[in-house]
C-alpha cells in the first residue's frame, strides 16, 4: 500500500492526470502485490490440484512422499472403477442414471424457480397495491429464517401427501415464488430499468401478457442468466433435501450417491482415489459452467451486495 502517493510526489496542476515513473520502490511494491496474490492462489489451488491428482492415482501411490503431482501411470480407470463399485452396492445406480437423476431434479427446480421469480419480482417492482411494502418486508425477513425450522413440518406435509421417496418435494416448491433471495435480486434489477418502454407499449395497445413477454423478459435476461447459474448450482448441490426425502438408492442424485458410497466404505480404508474421482465428477459440470458463464456467476454474486 505504498504506491498511490509518496512523499515528494509533485501534484501536477491538473490533478486528474497522475504520472507514474517506474522507480525501484514502485517495482518492489508491485512485486509484493503479485507475490501475495500468488501465495493466496496457491492456498486455493493446491487442494484442487490434490483432488484431481489423487483421483488419477493407483492406490499404492496415494501414500508416497514427496507427492507425485502428476501420477504415473495416469489411472483414468479410477473413474470407471469408482462408479462400478458403487453399482455393486446399489444395483442399477450407474453413472448415467445418477447423472440423469441429478439433471431431472436440477432442471425441473431451476426452470420453475426462474418462471416464478420473474412473475413475483415484476409484481413487486412495477405495481403499486395496498400492503405491497409490508409483504415485501415479510418476504425479506423469511431470508433470515433458518431452513431447519420449517424442515420438520415441511417433511410432514410431503409425508401426508404420500410423496416421500419421490422427486416432488425437491422440485414442486420451486413454483411458489422461486425463493425470496432471487425475487429480491430481480426486483432490484427491475427497479434500475426505467419503465418508459413498458408505458410506451401499453400506449401502443399491448396487453399485460405482451408487456411481460416482449418487454420485461428481454430486459431482465442478463439478470435471469445470473440467477439461473446460481440456481443451477444451488439445486445441483442441494444435499439436505435428497437426504431426507429419497430412500430408494436407484433414485439418488450425485451428492447422495457420494454420501452413500462414503458411508458404505469402512472408516479404516476409505478408497480416497475413488472418492476424489467422484468428487471431481460432481464438481466438473459446475466448473465447466463456471468457465463458460463466469460473468454471470460474478454478476449474480455481486448483484445484491453492492447495489442493495
Amino acid at each position: 500500500m505504498t504506491t498511490t502517493t509518496r512523499p515528494g510526489t509533485v501534484v501536477p496542476p491538473h490533478p486528474i492526470v497522475r504520472v507514474r515513473r517506474p522507480d525501484a520502490r514502485h517495482i518492489a511494491g508491485r512485486l509484493v502485490i503479485y507475490l501475495l496474490l500468488a501465495f493466496f492462489s496457491l492456498f486455493v489451488l493446491i487442494p484442487l490440484a490434490y483432488m484431481i491428482s489423487t483421483s488419477l492415482k493407483v492406490e499404492e501411490q496415494l501414500f508416497i512422499w514427496p507427492i507425485q503431482w502428476i501420477p504415473d501411470p495416469i489411472q483414468w480407470q479410477n473413474y470407471i472403477q469408482a462408479f462400478r463399485s458403487l453399482g455393486q452396492i446399489a444395483p442399477g445406480l450407474t453413472f448415467w442414471r445418477i447423472l440423469s437423476n441429478t439433471l431431472v431434479i436440477t432442471l425441473l427446480a431451476m426452470s420453475a424457480e426462474l418462471i416464478a421469480v420473474t412473475l413475483v419480482a415484476y409484481g413487486f417492482a412495477r405495481f403499486r397495491f395496498p400492503g405491497r411494502d409490508t409483504l415485501f418486508f415479510v418476504m425479506l425477513s423469511t431470508m433470515m429464517l433458518p431452513s431447519i425450522i420449517t424442515l420438520i413440518p415441511t417433511f410432514l406435509i410431503w409425508r401426508n401427501l404420500n410423496l416421500i421417496d419421490h422427486y416432488d418435494p425437491l422440485v414442486l416448491g420451486a413454483w411458489f415464488g422461486g425463493g425470496a433471495w432471487a425475487v429480491f435480486m430481480l426486483r432490484q434489477f427491475l427497479l434500475g430499468i426505467p419503465p418508459e418502454m413498458e408505458e410506451a407499449a401499453v400506449v401502443d395497445g399491448a396487453n399485460a401478457f405482451q408487456v411481460y413477454y416482449m418487454i420485461i423478459l428481454p430486459l431482465v435476461k442478463p439478470a435471469l442468466l445470473a440467477l439461473g447459474v446460481l440456481m443451477f448450482q444451488g439445486n445441483w448441490n442441494n444435499f439436505m433435501g435428497p437426504l431426507i426425502y429419497l430412500n430408494t438408492t436407484v433414485q439418488f442424485p450425485m451428492i447422495l450417491a457420494l454420501q452413500f458410497f462414503l458411508a458404505s466404505l469402512s472408516n479404516e480404508a476409505p478408497k480416497w482415489h475413488y472418492m476424489m474421482a467422484m468428487a471431481t465428477v460432481m464438481a466438473a459440470p459446475l466448473l465447466a459452467l463456471y468457465f463458460v458463464a463466469q460473468k454471470y456467476f460474478i454478476e449474480g454474486l455481486t448483484m445484491g451486495a453492492v447495489k442493495g
Binding site: L36, F40, G92, N101, L119, I149, V171, V183
Partner: protein, 333 residues
C-alpha cells in the same frame, strides 16, 4: 428389479406440470377475478403477480413456522400423534442433554472465528486486486473457484487433506512433528482440533467469494474521492480509513450478515465429516439426527427454535451496531 428411470421421473414431471399450470392459472384468474370484483387494475395485476409467493409463504413458511413452534412443546415420533409435554423439551436440552452444549459451543465458535477471519482475508485480497493488477480476470477466476465447488466435494477433499497418516497437511507438517517429537495430528478425530480444521476448510471455501464481492464494492467507490484526498495530501492509511472503509461498509455489512447466517447453518460439510461425540456436532446436524435418525420430532423442533432465537439475536445485534459503522451514501451514517 429396480425402479426404471421413466417410472421414477414421469409421475413427478406430470405433477410438476400440473402445479406449474395451476400457479399460472391462479395468477391469470386472480388478475381477471379481482378486476371483475371492481378492484383497481394496477392493484389486481400486482397482487396477482405476487400471489405465487404469497401462497408459498403461507404453505412453506407461515404454517411450518407455527407448527414447528407447537411441536417443540410435544413428544412426537411421527407414528403416534404429538403429545403435549409443555416445556419439558427445553428443560431437557438445557439440563440433561450432553450433546447440546458442546454442539452449541462448536457452532457459535465456528461462526465467531470463521466469519471475521474470512472477511479479513477477503478484504486483503480484494484490496490487492484493486491495485490495477494485470490479468485481473485470471486472479478473480482462481479466487472464486472454491465457491463453485459443491460443499460435499469440498468436505471430502478436506477430509482427505487432513487424513492423519497420509493427507497432504500432515505431509507438510512432518518436519514440525520431527522437531517436537510428536505423532501426526489427528485432525477431525481429536476434539481440540475439530474447530481449527473446520475453520481452515471454511476459510478456503468462503474467502475467495467474499473477495470478489468486496472487489465489486471497491470498484464502486467513486474515483474522485481519492483524487480529492490526493489534493488534500492524504496518506494511504488515511485514505483507507476515511474513504475506503466507510464507502465499503455496506458491502462489508452484507458479507457479515450472510456470513453469520450461513456459518450457523453449516450442514453438508459437517455431515460429510464425522467428528467425535465429545467435540460436539454442528447444530444443524444435531437437529437432523434428532429428527430423522431418532425420530424425536418434538425435541428436534425445540432445538431448531433455540437456533432460530440465536440467529435472530445475532442478526439484531449486527443490525443495531450497523448504525455506528455502516455508511449509506446520501444518508449520514
Amino acid at each position: 428389479m429396480y425402479l426404471s428411470a421413466w417410472d421414477s421421473y414421469a409421475p413427478t414431471i406430470v405433477r410438476w406440470l400440473l402445479v406449474g399450470g395451476g400457479i399460472i392459472a391462479i395468477v391469470v384468474g386472480l388478475n381477471k377475478g379481482l378486476q371483475a370484483l371492481g378492484v383497481r387494475r394496477e392493484t389486481a395485476r400486482g397482487f396477482a403477480l405476487i400471489s405465487p409467493w404469497l401462497l408459498g409463504f403461507l404453505i412453506w413458511n407461515a404454517f411450518p413456522f407455527a407448527y414447528s413452534f407447537y411441536l417443540s412443546f410435544t413428544k412426537y415420533n411421527i407414528f403416534q400423534p404429538p403429545e403435549w409435554i409443555g416445556i419439558q423439551n427445553y428443560v431437557e436440552m438445557f439440563t440433561k442433554d450432553t450433546d447440546f452444549w458442546p454442539s452449541l459451543r462448536l457452532t457459535l465458535l465456528f461462526a465467531a472465528l470463521n466469519v471475521p477471519l474470512g472477511m479479513v482475508g477477503a478484504l486483503g485480497v480484494a484490496l490487492l486486486l484493486n491495485r490495477d493488477v494485470k490479468a485481473i480476470g485470471l486472479w478473480r477466476t482462481i479466487y472464486y473457484l472454491p465457491a463453485v465447488l459443491p460443499a460435499a466435494a469440498v468436505a471430502l477433499l478436506w477430509r482427505w487433506m487432513f487424513s492423519p497418516g497420509s493427507g497432504l497437511i500432515n505431509f507438510f507438517l512432518q518436519p514440525f512433528y520431527a522437531l517436537f517429537n510428536i505423532g501426526p495430528l489427528q485432525w477431525f478425530t481429536e476434539p481440540k482440533l475439530v474447530l481449527p480444521a473446520f475453520i481452515i476448510m471454511g476459510m478456503w471455501g468462503v474467502f475467495g467469494a467474499n473477495a470478489v464481492i468486496l472487489l465489486a464494492g471497491l470498484k464502486n467507490i467513486p474515483q474522485h474521492l481519492y483524487e480529492a484526498a490526493d489534493i488534500d495530501g492524504a496518506g494511504t492509511m488515511q485514505k483507507f480509513r476515511f474513504i475506503t472503509l466507510p464507502m465499503l461498509s455496506s458491502t462489508l455489512f452484507y458479507t457479515l450478515v450472510t456470513g453469520i447466517i450461513g456459518a450457523l447453518q453449516i450442514f453438508t460439510q459437517a455431515f460429510f465429516i464425522p467428528v467425535p461425540r465429545r467435540a460436539g456436532t454442528f447444530m444443524n446436524v444435531l437437529i437432523y439426527q434428532e429428527a430423522f435418525t431418532f425420530r424425536n420430532m418434538g425435541y428436534a423442533s425445540a432445538l431448531a427454535w433455540v437456533l432460530l432465537v440465536i440467529i435472530l439475536i445475532l442478526t439484531v445485534l449486527v443490525f443495531r451496531s450497523s448504525a455506528a459503522w455502516v455508511h449509506y451514501e446520501g444518508v449520514k451514517g
